[in-house]
């Protein structure tokens, strides 16, 4: 039984952006296909069209020569196309079983049997009767996969499936996907991670700015060639010169604890570390292991005991973020549009937000707009933010530009320590490179960084020392030269 899926001349236009520009592709079962591209290249739009979530403006889709009309996700399901979305489509407060039965036509008993068979066959083990919000990201993904498998699909689409997984979970996923492929399911794998394409796929299609750039056999490609196709220019590789750092201690955390009242937050237990001047401490971990709590404690969003944080020989554990900034700390939170900037406010207004006291932005309670605008323009030009309109609302900046603006806003006060949390999350390669260069520059100026990130490659590239956070506990602090991504993966999974 062969499955052939054809996409013919698909176009989807959004106001101000062509998401898919006349894309044609053909897939055959028995192979694993990669759809590669940066954020915003149009991969997600294309697969959402395949799964009926988005209706294309033009173009046709053929499954085994039948022209499909995919007007809703139901149509895709009926035509045996299954999709696992990047952001899980699960109902967090419902149990696993309820999540699975909701779109199934089976009776409870027969569905349970089906699920059991699938779980046995692929070695999944998930408690069906607990709410989904108690599952790890890897388990949630398995629930999504089971949901597709129940319908015995001909096509299985995976949209950036590894962004939430550990190394181990990723290799488990790859094994499963290879098994599915051997059983005749056509697999389309969407990603921007080149390593994964090389590891898993047979053929690769590269997209850039809504257009299909190339289709090729994986054997004819390597990481560099794919990267260049994806970005459309030759990328320079960034490397940090690892120099001997000073032994001049800047920040010291002693016996820091945080117990949350919210059962869905992670408690921090006995955190101890210190960072010297000019040093970058990386904190690795799977998301949800206490990183956001740690960030909040360090930034002062959550206040702790006065002497648990010593910064520049001052005890500052009980100070709020504004007061900590006066001691020359700076922060770049994970969520750019919710925590770091206010989406509805203009660029220059957002620039003023982190600087209430020590600047000359305000006179007697009145806003000194000219000063702020001047300052904003300087940030925009110094940090390469791709706009010249400082009156623009922040929500209209792309992720990369917004991140540059935020980092710029923090750095222009020349702080001694920058604490950032997933600074390159969801950015394209160009912006990531720029942010990485900037972070390296900070260290070269003998200033320090605490980098909390879920991206191990980023951590290995930028950190001088690395520690892993797991269930609110930090591992011992290691020199980054002694660490490999495999070792980090094991620690991230909770082993010693």
């Amino acid at each position: 039984m062969n499955t052939n899926l054809k996409i013919l001349n698909v176009t989807k236009i959004y106001p101000g952006c062509v998401a898919n520009d006349n894309v044609s592709l053909e897939f055959n079962s028995g192979k694993i296909y990669a759809l590669l591209g940066e954020n915003g290249a149009g991969k997600s739009t294309l697969v959402k069209i395949l799964s009926g979530v988005i209706i294309p403006d033009e173009g046709n889709i053929y499954l085994n020569e039948n022209n499909l009309k995919l007007n809703s996700p139901l149509d895709a399901k009926k035509n045996d196309i299954g999709m696992v979305f990047q952001h899980f489509n699960l109902f967090e407060t419902l149990s696993v079983f309820e999540n699975l039965i909701i779109d199934s036509d089976d009776e409870r008993e027969s569905l349970r049997e089906k699920i059991d068979t699938i779980m046995k066959k692929y070695n999944f083990s998930i408690d069906l009767d607990i709410p989904v919000l108690n599952l790890s990201a890897g388990q949630k993904q398995k629930v999504e996969i089971i949901r597709c498998l129940i319908r015995s699909p001909k096509v299985l689409i995976m949209d950036e499936p590894t962004s939430v997984l550990t190394e181990q979970e990723t290799s488990e996923l790859f094994l499963s996907l290879k098994k599915f492929s051997e059983e005749g399911i056509l697999i389309i794998y969407i990603t921007h991670k080149l390593k994964e394409v090389m590891q898993l796929c047979d053929e690769v299609a590269v997209m850039r700015r809504g257009k299909l750039v190339s289709v090729s056999e994986i054997n004819n490609e390597n990481i560099e060639s794919l990267a260049n196709k994806m970005v459309g220019q030759n990328l320079k590789t960034i490397k940090k010169k690892k120099t001997k750092t000073s032994s001049d201690q800047l920040i010291k955390i002693t016996n820091l604890n945080f117990t949350s009242e919210d059962p869905f937050e992670t408690n921090l237990m006995d955190i101890n570390f210190s960072v010297n001047r000019g040093e970058c401490l990386g904190i690795a971990g799977i998301s949800g292991n206490g990183q956001s709590e740690l960030f909040q404690v360090l930034s002062g969003e959550i206040i702790s005991k006065k002497n648990s944080i010593e910064f520049n020989k001052n005890y500052i554990g009980d100070l709020n973020p504004q007061e900590r900034r006066e001691y020359l700390m700076a922060f770049s939170p994970e969520d750019r549009l919710e925590q770091a900037a206010i989406p509805q406010m203009k660029i220059f207004e957002n620039v003023a937000l982190n600087n209430f006291k020590s600047s000359n932005f305000f006179n007697n309670g009145l806003i000194n707009e000219n000063k702020i605008k001047e300052h904003s323009k300087k940030i925009i030009s110094d940090f390469n933010v791709n706009t010249d309109n400082i009156e623009l609302k922040s929500q209209f900046l792309s992720g990369g530009n917004l991140q540059k603006l935020i980092i710029g806003r923090e750095l222009i006060t020349s702080p001694d320590l920058l604490i950032c949390f997933n600074p390159t999350w969801g950015l394209d390669v160009g912006a990531i490179n720029y942010i990485h260069e900037t972070l390296i520059k900070i260290n070269e100026q003998n200033k320090s960084i605490i980098l909390i990130s879920t991206d191990t490659d980023e951590l290995l590239k930028l950190s001088d020392k690395i520690s892993v956070i797991h269930k609110g506990k930090l591992s011992k602090i290691m020199n980054s030269e002694e660490v490999t991504s495999e070792k980090l993966g094991i620690l991230m999974g909770g082993a010693n």
Binding site: I55, N89, F91, E92, L94, E98, I102, D103
Partner: protein, 310 residues
Amino acid sequence: MIIDINFIGLIIASIMASAVPLILASCGELITERSGVLNLGVEGMMIIGAISGFALMTVTGSLIIAVFGAMLAGVLISTIFAFLTQTLITNHVATGLALTIFGIGISAMIGKNFVGIPGKEFPVLFEGLKDTIPLFGPILFGHSIVFYFAFALPFITSYFLKKTKIGLIVRAVGDSPESASNQGINVRLVRYACILYGGAMSGLAGAYLSMIYTPQWIENMTGGRGWIALALVVFSTWNPIKILIGAMIFGGLTIIQFHMQAIGVRIPVQFLTALPYIVTIIVLVVISRDSRKIRLSTPSSLGKSFHKDN
């Protein structure tokens, strides 16, 4: 002083009767909110139900037409809310408040002609069994069909949400409309249905007030019960059984404070009148302290507009 045991039964029965409109309206609103829609128009829908029921009864003389007409009136007015919030994507809170103001106003206008007209007697069931069992006789027997329906409703609602597929879909939509939509569930349709159901139950609650509880029309006769029903839903953490408990406490305190006022207890009247509101909320807050359960039963998308982009 000898207290007749049947007298206690009668007091309990009167407490239950005063809880009926709260249970009906809360259970309806609970379904609406479980689908992620916050309808603050309960008071307005209730009073529309009250005047429609009473007017239809007076005009047609048929109790059946009156009861179903009141429910239909609730459905119609909630359709306005549904159209505005689901089709035109207006803000839930503002639209709901407008609905209440609209309902109170229009009911007063229609009701002008019905002030002072006596109501009809509503048939009660099992009247003859009232004296057969001491204490429980008056509690269990001799009530209207709406009364029995109201006390069954929390259990039906709970069963519906937990055990049926449609209940599951309602919860799923309230949890994440985006996911539901991506799963091929018609979010707008589900939400429309839940809003209309909430309207029907509020209408019925209103009809109970004007046709059974105090069979007459008085302007603004719901007297804030719609707001209490809303509060019950939230403070019961979207749990129908706790709504029943809350409604009973509220009804009980309302009746008891009347009696206390009658006996002449030396506590300021204002405090006594406020008592049911305060105590009900305190009790519900105390019995709903488990934050894990709150998280699991709170509809995550409550009050947020869902707009499917294509």
